[in-house]
Chain length 326, copies 2
């Protein structure tokens, strides 16, 4: 009886998962959107061994934590990070109603379409200033705006809504891990609420499994009800060494699977491989000029150290049958 229940549970999870992988063949072979390669074999071997109760590599379900970066790992990040596109769009729309912004070089430049101002700041200063644009906005309005932006605005090169700029082989990998009772989290440098608005729809990842950068919120209760308001103060910039810190805050366990694409994911991948359980880390390399982009900037250190660290490098050109849904 117990085995039957388990079988039916597994079956139902698998069926559930399949409905989200539109283009995947419904077959027994996992990762159907991946070309045959050593990295595909390594992923499948890893998953089969940690889920095999008779294997010395077996990992109990509650410890099967997988963490994925988002920008550049699960969806496109060029020419600009999509979360940054959203804030720029907001600044452009709001600029005329905020006279105080005229003194701000960054906001003024962006509102006037001068993207070169972005290069004048380091990441932390830039994120701090950009996040401050939504100061005093109601959290639920921000949520609505983010969902609408991702649904209605299109990437110019590919002419598809931003929320459809996802790499289908990576989404298939998420569903494969979920079908094997991994808890899958996204650990993004992007703003946490922004991604939550679409994470269930595009990845089948529940909102509470999104970990990201954030501002401090304020609780208010008045005649309008009880609600949250955004402030201009940074709570956390979820990049580099902060990723393992926020993994501990939100999850409390060391992951056994990590996927990243840049130096911002270096510590998360390193941390994932440092536990007592068997673990795996993959690094998505953008080398497909024809179907997406080819670039190395911002990922030099991770690519250079990948071999030494035991990280598997994914070639988007060679390992993915498709990049976006076809």
């Amino acid at each position: 009886m117990k085995r039957n229940l388990l079988f039916i549970l597994t079956l139902s999870v698998t069926l559930f998962s399949c409905t989200f992988t539109k283009n995947a063949e419904i077959s027994n072979s996992p990762l159907s959107l991946w070309n045959e390669s050593s990295v595909k074999t390594s992923i499948i071997t890893f998953v089969e061994s940690v889920t095999d109760e008779n294997s010395s590599d077996f990992v109990p379900e509650k410890e099967r934590i997988a963490v994925f970066d988002n920008d550049g790992t699960l969806w496109n990040e060029k020419p600009l990070y999509i979360p940054i596109e959203f804030i720029i769009d907001y600044i452009k729309k709001t600029y005329n109603t905020k006279p105080e912004w005229r003194e701000n070089k960054l906001y003024k430049g962006l509102a006037e379409g001068d993207m070169s101002v972005l290069k004048e700041y380091n990441t932390i200063d830039l994120v701090t200033q950009l996040f401050a644009a939504n100061d005093k906005q109601l959290q639920q309005e921000y949520f609505r705006d983010a969902y609408n932006f991702l649904s209605n605005n299109k990437d110019k090169k590919f002419n598809r809504p931003f929320k459809e700029m996802v790499y289908t082989p990576m989404v298939e990998l998420i569903h494969y891990l979920q079908a094997n009772n991994f808890k899958v989290y996204i650990v993004t440098g992007g703003e946490i609420t922004f991604l939550r608005t679409v994470s269930e729809e595009i990845y089948n990842i529940p909102m509470e499994n999104i970990i990201g950068s954030s501002v401090l919120l304020e609780y208010k209760s008045d005649e309008k009800g009880s609600y949250l308001v955004r402030t201009g103060k940074i709570n956390s910039i979820n990049d580099k060494h902060v990723k393992p810190v926020n993994i501990e805050l939100h999850i409390g366990r060391k992951p056994i699977f990590a996927a990243g694409n840049s130096d911002g994911d270096y510590e998360m991948m390193e941390y994932t491989l440092s536990g007592n359980n068997p673990a795996m880390a993959i690094l998505v390399h953008h080398d497909d000029k024809k179907r997406e982009y080819a670039y190395m900037h911002g990922t030099e250190k991770a690519i250079k150290d990948a071999d030494k660290k035991g990280w598997h490098v994914i070639s988007m050109k060679n390992d993915f049958k498709e990049i976006f849904a076809e």
Copy 2:
């Protein structure tokens, strides 16, 4: 076929849940550790209506979020909060190895057994100073120490290990909600990692569903590996208006069920009832001098406003068949 699958899924969740409710009768009547009363009826009516697809009060599974305070709501909080007992124990054990602590009035007093020093600080100053005691401790050592403390140290009045000072009717309520596909979270003023060490064992609540007060951690990577170190800097004091803020950070949705026992839970209960979904809030009142404690201090405002706010007050004396496992 679909209905059969659903039935078996529900059955298996129910069976799973029952194994955690040691003292509950395995029967069709939920909340067997609760006396018959209007509040018990209200809870069951609420759960049945939000899970009934034919009810206008139906709430989809992913929105069935329940939040529970911990100290005084799920386990005993007198004569001192258990998380505070833990830090005092650590200060006493460590005091002789830290000459710099001799200048600190709070640490000196506690090490010498003078509990009256606790009264000289407001909550925020007290928590800030107490949390700083574990500065520079490895996170994994802290985790081990917390688990050992909760397992091996006993409450003096009841002569049982701290981790067994849980209110069984409330644990039964958690399992009842889980069996009805609620995601149950704890939102505690206590330190987050401290509670995570036992949450799966004593409540069947996974570590990632614990939200609590926290210090900033530091990521280190060196010849010893990759690991996290505690600092003396507060990240968040999860009390009062901060509870809704951290609910948004960790979950991203408004709960539909909240349980608290003090003024520290006021905003969390208020926030829970402010959404568009049907929602319920309960306030555990300590009025059982014989079986536990009777007190009102720290909960005056919540008790006074309960009726007006629509919160259900639980009388531990009248509503609970037992307090601790018998």
